[in-house]
């Protein structure tokens, strides 16, 4: 039962990822007083892309085709770390957050290479900007998780979640508030959402992620889009698991897990609504204000780490 | 009687060599005598090891400390004689400047240095120490060029003045001993002085006064800053084998004298006073010489300053005291002499083939003279104290003793100077070894004697860095036992 539940978590994260995108798109449309597309549309798009042929620039090398595969593999692998319906995960007891963050980095590294391999100006532009954002985002990401790990005295994500579960909701310390703030900021940056990056733009002055994938088409683009969606979903699930895990199944009974899945869906929906509101309400930051944004996140994370020494014991 | 043999061989040998006008024969005889001398010294060392002490009359005695230094003398002088046998092929025949005169003076020089280590009496020690100056002054001025004469004169005058102060210090110590009731014969004998020092109540003022004069006096010969001024001149202008002997043996002998006095004074008035002075001189020498290394333009002067720096290191080891400091100081004395001989041998080869010792005139010798460059590189890496060479171990021992005693100022200065010296050596050696040779340098071929001398020295450095041979360790421990 345990293994089934854990595989279920992975499947939810991977297969549910496009839905997350669909929901956000729909929510934003509603907020903008538009009808908006069906929330299942991303699935249709994926299928459409997967059935097309792959267009490859003649000047590119094997890396161009390899990059989406590695990106997808690495991103999919991170889903095995995140507890969703129960405080455990496929690689829960071993896989710690350093691995998670670095697996994301692995994917990003290859995606950037693929972008450069396209040989056009846009790919380089996107890769260069992505390099800036991601290199600055890694520190607050890890520091925030470190603060949580110290509070929980555990290093694996499942353990941290289990510890949080055991706490009363009103016992949550200032550390959690700080970390929540910084991780939310990091999540926005990592997944390329507003105000760091605008996922819907194709204006060369502003695009980051879109610049990188501009040369991709067909199945490769599908993999990239899917991986992006999975990443977004993982970050969402991570935020939920770390800061609002209550309601997760405590046993392996089918009922408990079903309930937990439903509860997760509710929490995710709430978070998605919040995200849509944020995306609609804020303007994109100027490129060179992004380091300040992430600097604030780093400072908050560092503060959280320092606070752990007072809160603990 | 055994003690007389190593003293008799060089004196008689010096006379013998002068009888042979043919340079090749003189060289052969010198090598033979050198081998005999090394054998005699080996026998002495072995007997001391077996019996603990050897004595001969009132004035000669050998114990663990002497035999440790005698071993160093034997090793280095052997290397130097081998190297010199090839080196002198470039030397012409002139009045007082022919190979036979060279060897005769070298043996006299050796005689005085061996006597220093074998003397039982502080007065005799002084006489022989002055003898080293006299015997080597002519060697320093051997080439009879303007520079050599200038260096020789300065060497002679500065060292004689310095050592006159040591005589005064000896007299003051003698006075203190006599006043405390020792017989005139015993009052200069350092074993009886060391035995008596804690008991009979030597006047502490006089003892301290004596040590001040002695450390200034013998410190002049050791090359402590600010009495070091003769050292770079003499090392740079002397024939290269002599530079090696001066740096590797003479300085150690002077240090040996300082050690003896330090041991006596430490017993009489406690170690704080003499150790403080040693530390002051050691650190000053290290810092000043280390800085001066950076701005040298002459290869041999560079090495001379490096010798001053290393004497400073040894003095710091002595000044720190403690088993580790003492161990480091003694080991470093030996290691430094090996490394410095190797470097001087390399410098000698460079001089012969590039015809200059100016560092900016030496370019790209790694192409034109690869073996010599290898020797210089090994010597350079060793002398700056990099692992896996033996100097690393001894510097390390001294440094860890300083750490253990929480003398952080010494530690910091030590480390800073080491890195400055490293920078200096790297800078100079890089410029010499790399780059294009200026013109088509002569095709340099090493002759076997040079190979042998440099090879032995280099492998010794590496070998001692890996592990200290058992027998050597035993001798080292016996030497330490004498001082503690």
């Amino acid at each position: 039962m345990k293994i089934t539940a854990e595989i279920l978590q992975v499947l939810i994260l991977i297969l549910g990822a496009p839905l997350v995108r669909g929901i956000i798109a729909r929510m934003k449309a509603l907020l903008q007083r538009r009808q908006g597309a069906n929330i299942w549309r991303p699935y249709a798009e994926l299928f459409k892309l997967l059935r097309k042929e792959d267009l490859v620039p003649p000047t590119s090398s094997a890396v161009f085709r390899l990059a989406p595969i590695v990106l997808f593999g690495a991103t999919a692998c991170t889903t095995a770390f995140v507890p969703l319906v129960h405080a455990s995960a496929l690689l829960g007891s071993y896989g710690d957050f350093f691995l998670l963050v670095y697996l994301l980095a692995l994917g990003r590294f290859f995606l950037s290479l693929g972008a450069l391999d396209g040989g056009s100006a846009f790919g380089g532009m996107g890769a260069s900007r992505e390099a800036l954002v991601s290199s600055l985002a890694e520190a607050p990401f890890l520091l925030g998780l470190v603060a949580l790990a110290i509070s929980a005295s555990r290093t694996d994500l499942a353990g941290i979640v289990a510890w949080t579960l055991a706490q009363n909701i009103f016992n949550i310390s200032v550390v959690h508030i700080l970390v929540l703030t910084s991780l939310a900021m990091v999540a926005l940056a990592e997944t390329g959402r507003m105000p760091v990056d605008n996922p819907t733009t194709h204006l060369e002055l502003t695009m980051i992620h879109e610049g990188m994938v501009l040369e991709y088409s067909g199945p490769s683009l599908a993999l990239i889009e899917w991986a992006g969606a999975i990443k977004l979903h993982v970050m969402l699930a991570l935020l939920i698991a770390l800061f609002c895990p209550w309601g997760m199944a405590s046993t392996w009974s089918g009922l408990g897990i079903t309930l937990a899945v439903l509860l997760y869906c509710a929490k995710a929906a709430a978070l998605l609504i919040l995200l849509s509101v944020i995306e609609s309400a804020v303007a994109k930051l100027r490129m060179y204000l992004v380091p300040d944004f992430l600097g604030v996140a780093s400072a908050v994370s560092a503060l959280a780490v320092i606070f752990t020494t007072w809160v603990k014991r | 009687m055994l003690l007389l043999v190593p003293l008799a061989i060089p004196v008689l040998g010096a006379g013998l060599i002068l009888c042979f006008r043919n340079p090749r024969v003189a060289t052969r005889v010198a090598l033979l005598l050198g081998a005999l001398e090394i054998g005699a010294l080996g026998a002495v060392v072995w007997q001391v090891h077996a019996r603990g002490e050897l004595r001969q009359g009132l004035y000669l005695r050998a114990d663990g400390l002497s035999s440790f230094f005698l071993m160093g003398i034997a090793f280095i002088s052997g290397l130097v004689l081998v190297y010199a046998s090839g080196y002198l092929r470039h030397m012409g025949e002139g009045r007082f400047s022919s190979p036979r005169w060279f060897y005769a003076l070298v043996f006299l020089f050796l005689f005085t240095m061996i006597s220093v280590c074998l003397s039982a009496n502080l007065g005799f020690l002084w006489i022989m120490m002055e003898g080293t100056t006299l015997a080597s002054a002519l060697l320093v001025g051997f080439y009879n060029t303007e520079g050599a004469l200038e260096a020789g004169w300065k060497y002679l005058v500065v060292c004689t003045v310095g050592i006159a102060f040591a005589l005064f210090g000896t007299i003051v110590l003698y006075l203190a001993a006599v006043k405390a009731g020792m017989s005139p014969a015993a009052a200069l004998d350092w074993v009886s002085l060391m035995d008596a020092a804690p008991r009979i109540g030597l006047d502490p003022h006089l003892v301290k006064l004596a040590f001040v004069f002695v450390i200034v006096g013998y410190g002049t010969k050791v090359g402590f800053v600010p009495m070091h001024s003769w050292l770079p001149d003499a090392h740079a202008e002397a024939p290269t084998p002599i530079s090696a002997l001066l740096s590797a043996v003479l300085l150690n002998c002077a240090m040996y004298a300082v050690m003896r006095y330090d041991a006596i004074v430490s017993r009489a008035v406690g170690p704080a006073f003499s150790h403080t002075l040693l530390l002051i001189f050691g650190v000053t020498s290290m810092v000043v010489a280390g800085l001066l290394i950076l701005v040298q333009q002459n290869l041999k002067r560079l090495m001379a300053y490096s010798s001053i720096e290393h004497m400073g290191i040894i003095a710091i080891g002595l000044g720190l005291g403690g088993p580790l400091g003492l161990f480091g100081a003694l080991l470093h004395a030996f290691n430094h002499s090996v490394a410095k001989s190797l470097l001087f041998f390399g410098a000698g080869n460079v001089r012969h083939h590039v015809h200059t010792l100016r560092i900016d005139g030496i370019r790209g010798i790694s192409r034109s003279m690869p073996q010599t460059s290898a020797a210089l590189l090994v010597g350079g890496l060793a002398i700056v104290g990099l692992p896996p060479f033996s100097l690393f171990i001894s510097e390390f021992a001294i440094l860890s003793e300083a750490f253990a005693q929480a003398r952080y100022l010494v530690v910091i200065l030590f480390l800073v100077v080491l890195s400055v010296v490293f920078g200096g050596f790297a800078f100079h050696f890089f410029r010499m070894l790399c780059g294009e040779p200026d013109r088509d340098a002569e095709n340099s071929r090493l002759i076997p004697s040079e190979y042998i001398a440099m090879g032995i020295a280099g492998s010794c450095l590496l070998f001692f860095g890996a592990r200290i041979p058992y027998l050597f360790g035993l001798l080292l421990r016996e030497a330490m036992a004498v001082l503690q």
């Binding site: - | 007065g123 006489i127 003898g131 100056t133 002519l138 303007e146 200038e150 005058v157 006089l206 333009q297």
Partner: protein, 220 residues
């Protein structure tokens, strides 16, 4: 106590004055030959003190030392110096870097310093103040001559004066070291002077002067 006894007393107690006198004269002397003469005189005074000590303490070894001092320092060395100056044909001037007035003042200051030093150590040693002060001021003067006189010969002479001081100090504090050691020391000094002589010859051959302050090729 006969006449000789009284003489020894007198010598030991008051001959130091002569030593001070030679010091002052050495400071103002302009010619090398005068300096050598003064050194010879100084050594003669010291010989007298040695012999007096030997008589007083009845030490045979010290007599021998006294004779050696006389033979070497009063006769042999000055003689050698005269020969040297003749052979070298150098200018006879000492070439001081201080004026005579300055030199005298410095010499007086040194004598004062010696007395000051003796006062801080005199009690410990229990010897006549004057003699010890004279010994120390000889050492200082020797040093001063070496630093301030530019001629190679004068440096040798300064060294000898310095050595005289050390010798005198040893004599009055400890009645000299054991004989063998004393002889060894004399031998060393002789050899040292011989070597310095050789060097002065070579220097004057090569450089055609004897001004050591001009030997400044090696520096830095």
């Amino acid at each position: 106590m006969g006449l000789v006894g009284i003489a020894t007393e007198k010598i030991l107690s008051s001959f130091s004055v002569f030593l001070f006198l030679t010091i002052l004269l050495l400071a103002v002397a302009r010619r090398i030959s005068t300096c050598v003469l003064l050194f010879s005189l100084q050594s003669a005074v010291i010989t007298a003190e040695v012999l007096a000590t030997a008589f007083q303490e009845k030490l045979v070894g010290v007599y021998v030392v006294g004779l050696l001092v006389f033979a070497i320092k009063v006769v042999a060395i000055p003689r050698a110096f005269f020969l040297l100056t003749k052979r070298l044909k150098t200018v006879r001037d000492v070439k001081a870097s201080t004026t005579p007035t300055q030199s005298v003042f410095i010499a007086v200051a040194m004598i004062y310093l010696s007395y000051a030093a003796v006062h801080s150590y005199g009690q410990a040693v229990q010897v006549p103040d004057d003699a010890l002060a004279a010994a120390i001021s000889l050492i200082l003067t020797g040093a001063f001559l070496m630093v301030s006189r530019k001629k190679a010969l004068m440096q040798m002479l300064g060294l000898l004066v310095l050595e005289n001081g050390i010798f005198l100090a040893a004599l009055i504090t400890t009645f000299g070291m054991p004989l063998v050691i004393e002889i060894g020391i004399f031998f060393d000094i002789l050899m040292g002077l011989l070597l310095m002589g050789i060097f002065t010859f070579r220097i004057s051959d090569t450089f055609e002067h004897l001004d050591v302050s001009k030997l400044r090729r090696l520096r830095g």
